[in-house]
């Protein structure tokens, strides 16, 4: 099911959480809402879920072209996974997953046997076989989050929403779980919207990334496009490292640039810079090497521009750096790759 958000605004008192947001999420895709805290991404997710309602007269939400703006959350057939799991503490894993089926009105409710079959299928799907009689307090964080996911899937949702699902987990579990989620998404092929502030997470698992900042959407696109062709300075800075270079500059005339208060500024990623030890190459910017860090696979160079002392960071393969035979204090010549 596709989701269309048309001109949605949301204010909490004097605080603006969303400013006329427009967005279309395609059927069967895994879309991330990526942004710093306070950018409005969780509010947007909760509005799609029906846990919050947009400001009066500010626009509408459509599921497959059907207006659901005023449809209550329970009737939207949406699965929601909360950041802190929100499992029912007094129920076993089995009862947690079966909850959505048990609360159906008697004419829609499956039989006990059907419910049990479905719950066991879901327990297998999230790889928690044998844990069905455990209570949430007896599970690890990763296991709890998978129970929450199974519980959300039990009602056969048409859309799955995840609010920073791995935010409360440690780095290792996080990585495993997000790869597993990507695989699961390919299996069930459900329209999935995923909130995160972790750019690495978003770049790794999404089909589409929506970058948000200060209550608005900055850019929508495939991970590769968003990373390689950021539409705004904010996206440049939020996704990976970037150098800001005052223009004009001889080596960086063709770099993506934006007009800012101090004039035209070029945005260049550290690994997009070529380094020469001599001035023979045409159109290069002269700088001197301030420091080098060669711990790890990359050599990280910190250079200062000759004309205005602006710091430029460069990343290159270590063996390439060794070939240049440079030491701190030497002149280097830089240009856009």
């Amino acid at each position: 099911m596709s989701v269309k958000i048309s001109n949605i605004s949301k204010t909490f008192g004097s605080y603006t959480a969303l400013k006329s947001v427009n967005l279309t999420v395609q059927t069967g895709k895994l879309t991330s809402l990526l942004g710093p805290s306070g950018s409005g991404k969780t509010t947007l997710l909760r509005i799609i879920a029906g846990l919050e309602f947009p400001d009066e007269g500010s626009g509408a939400i459509y599921f497959d072209n059907q207006d659901v703006t005023r449809v209550p959350a329970g009737k939207r057939h949406v699965g929601f996974v909360f950041q802190h799991y929100a499992l029912f503490k007094h129920m076993t894993v089995f009862d947690n997953i079966a909850f959505g089926l048990n609360v159906k009105s008697w004419k829609d409710r499956p039989t006990k046997q059907e419910i049990a079959d479905k719950v066991h299928k879901l327990i297998d799907l999230v790889q928690l076989g044998g844990l069905d009689k455990r209570y949430p307090t007896e599970l690890s964080g990763g296991q709890r989050q998978r129970v929450a996911l199974a519980r959300a899937l039990a009602i056969d949702p048409k859309i799955l929403l995840l609010d920073e699902p791995f935010g409360a987990l440690d780095a290792k579990v996080r990585k495993d779980l997000r790869r597993w989620l990507r695989k699961l998404h390919e299996e069930v092929n459900l329209t999935t919207i995923f909130v995160t502030h972790d750019q690495e997470e978003a770049l790794e698992i999404s089909d589409e990334i929506v970058v948000m900042n200060q209550a608005s959407i900055e850019q929508v696109g495939k991970p590769q496009d968003v990373y390689d062709k950021p539409a705004t300075p904010f996206v440049y800075e939020f996704l990976g490292k970037v150098n800001q270079l005052q223009l004009p500059s001889r080596g960086f005339a063709h770099a993506a640039s934006f007009n800012e208060a101090q004039g035209k500024v070029a945005y260049v990623r550290p690994h997009d810079i070529e380094v020469f030890a001599t001035a023979e190459a045409l159109n290069t910017e002269a700088a001197y090497l301030v420091s080098v860090n060669t711990a790890g696979p990359l050599a990280r160079l910190c250079c200062a521009r000759q004309d205005n002392d602006q710091i430029i960071e460069v990343e290159m393969a270590r063996q390439n750096f060794t070939k240049l035979n440079l030491k701190v204090g030497d002149w280097v010549y830089l240009r856009m790759r």
């Binding site: 879920a49 846990l51 209550p72 959350a73 329970g74 009737k75 949406v78 699965g79 929601f80 909360f82 802190h84 929100a86 499992l87 029912f88 503490k89 007094h90 909850f99 959505g100 609360v103 159906k104 209570y135 307090t137 007896e138 929450a148 519980r151 959300a152 039990a154 009602i155």
Partner: protein, 310 residues
């Protein structure tokens, strides 16, 4: 006020206590530990154990037969019955009021919320005597209700004639006693549940909403099981207070023997008449009820902690 502490805080305090204890055991000299324990025990004996002992001793001074006679005395029996009746009505009322108040105050945002929270605390802040006087002023024959009954052109004449026809009396009658007791014990359930429900937040309720549960199902299947033990705990305390309330009830009761005397009031009357055996016999019964209440409370507390450490 211990009961106003969130349960989780009590748990942390207990851990802190245990830590402090082990620290002190490691560092303090023996004589200091003996001295401090001795002072503690002495206080406990003087102010708690001795009085309770003397209570039972005095009650049984003239033998079990006299003790029994004092309890089955019609006036004593009626006082005990009235006390039980009061508790039987007050506890369910506070269950409903307290639970709905805590629900509204923790799960919803609205204007005037802080005023409502302050109002809930009011009965704890004012003296019970004032609580009693408030009811006399509102429902007494010299109060608003009296003025209404005496009025020749009342609003809703049907209600006035109904009151007169049924001879409804509130002050110096059972309804007044029950109302005053409800007033005094009103904050107990809400005060216990508000921090508990605040701590739990609304995430689980939201999860239930997303899974299609209606309001009733959310309450019975999610909210109530989560606060069950805190609720039982507060109801036990509420019951103890309802049975023991003296001040507010004394003002509105009118002290009619066999009619509007509760057990605590009956004890006072017997004591003032120098009927010590009678007074202490009824008092011992109240003390027993209180001890049973405390045992239930401890069991519930144990259960609460057991669940937390799970």
């Amino acid at each position: 006020m211990e009961s106003a502490l969130p349960e989780i805080m009590k748990h942390y305090f207990k851990i802190a206590d245990i830590r402090a204890k082990t620290r002190q055991q490691a560092s303090d000299p023996v004589w200091l530990r003996v001295l401090l324990t001795g002072i503690g025990l002495l206080f406990l004996t003087c102010f708690l154990i001795l009085p309770i002992y003397s209570l039972f001793e005095e009650a049984l001074r003239k033998g079990v037969a006299t003790y029994y006679q004092a309890l089955v005395d019609p006036d004593a029996l009626s006082a005990i019955k009235l006390t039980l009746l009061t508790a039987l009505i007050v506890v369910p009322c506070n269950f409903i009021f307290g639970l709905s108040a805590a629900w509204v105050l923790t799960k919803y945002e609205f204007r005037g919320k802080s005023i409502l929270i302050t109002l809930i605390d009011l009965p704890f802040a004012v003296s019970p005597v004032i609580a009693g006087l408030i009811y006399v002023l509102v429902f007494g024959m010299q109060g608003w209700l009296g003025v209404y009954i005496a009025s020749s052109h009342p609003l809703f004449p049907a209600i006035q004639s109904w009151i007169i026809a049924h001879d409804i009396q509130i002050i110096f009658a059972k309804p007044g006693i029950i109302l005053a007791t409800i007033f005094v014990t009103f904050p107990m359930v809400a005060r216990e549940l508000i921090p508990l429900m605040q701590m739990q937040g609304t995430d689980q309720e939201h999860a239930a909403v997303m899974l299609g549960a209606n309001g009733w199902q959310i309450f019975w299947r999610v909210t109530l099981p989560n606060i069950k033990w805190g609720l039982i705990y507060s109801l036990v305390l509420c019951n103890a207070r309802a049975m023991g309330e003296f001040g507010a009830v004394s003002v509105v009761s009118g002290h009619i023997r066999g009619e509007t005397n509760t057990a605590p009031l009956h004890i006072e009357i017997l004591y003032n008449e120098y009927n010590f055996v009678g007074a202490f016999a009824v008092a011992s019964l109240l003390a027993l009820l209180a001890i049973v209440t405390l045992i239930i409370k401890s069991l519930v507390e144990w259960r609460l902690e057991h669940k937390k450490t799970l």
